[in-house]
Amino acid sequence: MESFYQNVYKMVLAVSALSICCMLPHTGQADPGFSFGNAASGNQACLDCHSDMQTVGDKNLISAAVFSHTTHAMFGCKTCHDTVSSDHPKDGTVARTTTCTNCHGDIAAEYATNKHSHAVPNCNACHNPHKVLKPNEISALAMTATCMNCHNHNTIKATHAQWLPQTDLHLGSITCVTCHTTAKNFIVSVYIAHRDVKADGTSPVIADYHYLSTKLNSRDVQYLVDRNRDNSISIEELKMFNGDPENKDLYLKAILTPTKTSHAFQTSDKSWNCTFCHANGPSEAQITRLVLPQQDGTFAGFDVEKGTSLSSLNAIPNFYMMGSSRNKLVNNIGVLFLTGGLIMPVGHGFIRFMTRRNRRKE
């Protein structure tokens, strides 16, 4: 009974913390990620041992830094590991009776509707509960890496190559869940990537925090792009980043990601329809976020001026989504050229018609 009241108390604390977080003014800046740390949940006693490799071994090791970033941390270790006794670990029991579905029943129900749930029924196979982060706190490559734990890249590539033109390019510019779930709300997530990686186009290497911070003498990597420090990225700031000789080893890598993920794994009709992306483009794709690595290993997104990815000429020079990201000025110049080509047939043709009698044979 005491344990029950403790859990209720922790829940109240957590909800209060969330409420305070939601009440903070939203200035368009990045979600910095909310760390519940250990104070709210008293996890330290557990982490004293479980963050020490020598004590608990690799299998039971928990990174305190990463765990403190997860939503799970706020509930406290004993919420899930409610059978842990005062004799733990000497009593030899597995200190867990709670399952993911106790809290995530809706996700479990959604997941159960597809065949992934038969092959991989265990949530832990993809999501380590001590590391699980929100979609906007991980990189697009990390999203895809989860799938690659089971799916072979070469097989995936070969399968897609049967129908998808520019397979490598697509696989390197979209996450798996963008097409293979019912996820919605796609945005263009822009990462800072290394130029000097293997040039197969499928594996851009996103620069990590430590690499980027060396360029700024350990200042926040945000200021590498956000020069005026207003927590919002303008097209001008992106151009400055691209034009800065100091950044010659880097480039902006854009990847289409969903903001709201789904566990309904299926290839939806939109995925077979090229013009879903390549015509006007999903309206959400007009939204661009610059996603930067954080010191704690997570990622944070920053709002970028609207229209950057699809219409600006050189804000993200290496991003082009055919049919969608076409520049109006360039279109007009092209039309001007074509119109010029019609001057002869139309103008000359008209005078030719009017003077046809002069060319009649005698």
């Binding site: 129908w163 033109p165 520019q166 490598d168 390019l169 390197g172 130029r195 000097d196 040039a199 197969d200 186009g201 499928t202 480039y251 090229c274 013009t275 390549h278 015509a279 006007n280 000429l313 050189n314 993200i316 020079p317 290496n318 991003f319 082009y320 055919m322 049919g323 990201s325 076409r326 520049n327 360039v330 279109n331 110049i333 092209g334 039309v335 050229f337 074509l338 119109t339 010029g340 080509g341 019609l342 002869m344 047939p345 000359h348 043709g349 005078i351 030719r352 003077t355 002069n358 060319r359 009649r360």
Partner: protein, 221 residues
Amino acid sequence: MESKFVYLQPTPVRIWHWLNALGIVTLCASGAQIRFPEFVTICGSYRSAILLHNTAGIVVALSFSIWFFYYKWVSGALTSIYVPKLDELSHPLLRQVFYYFYGYFKGASSPFHATPDSKFNPMQKSAYLAIMFVIVPFVSLSGIALLNIGPIRQIILMVGGLQILVIVHFLLACMLGAFLATHVYLATLGSTPLAYFKPMWTGWEKVGHHHSSEKILGTSD
């Protein structure tokens, strides 16, 4: 009256020409759909447009390479046929321009008459110089680069990124499209609207008496 014919366009040239024509028209149509899929659906699905564009692009690029290789290293006539001489760029060029924009309307005959060794008038030479030595090579190269974005990403980044490459490709393609319209129209300016089309199909061009030289290989009533 006896009509004389000169064998102006050998079979390989005609095959090359019509293959190019088909390829470039296909590229223009599929390219328009790729860039403006909301307005152009001539090739069916977007994927079909892409595959058609890629295939036609490779065919035209190969065709261009064969053309260049043949005229540069086999026949050696690349410069004499396609590059206007300095003296052609003054009086003969003006005379040809004057003919097209004035003399033609007054019923004058063309100051230039094609022979197998000199197929193009100075205006044509100037146009082909730009088309075959600037526009086609660069539109082909940018197209090939766009087909291999992954492997040559470093090079693409060096030239300013994917967007610059696409702009170059698109604007050069528009220039080629503009040339196509002018090219087809100018081909109708012969003695009859089809007079210049027939030689490119049969190889034989009908000529007047002043062409009666050893280059004239056949006659017809």
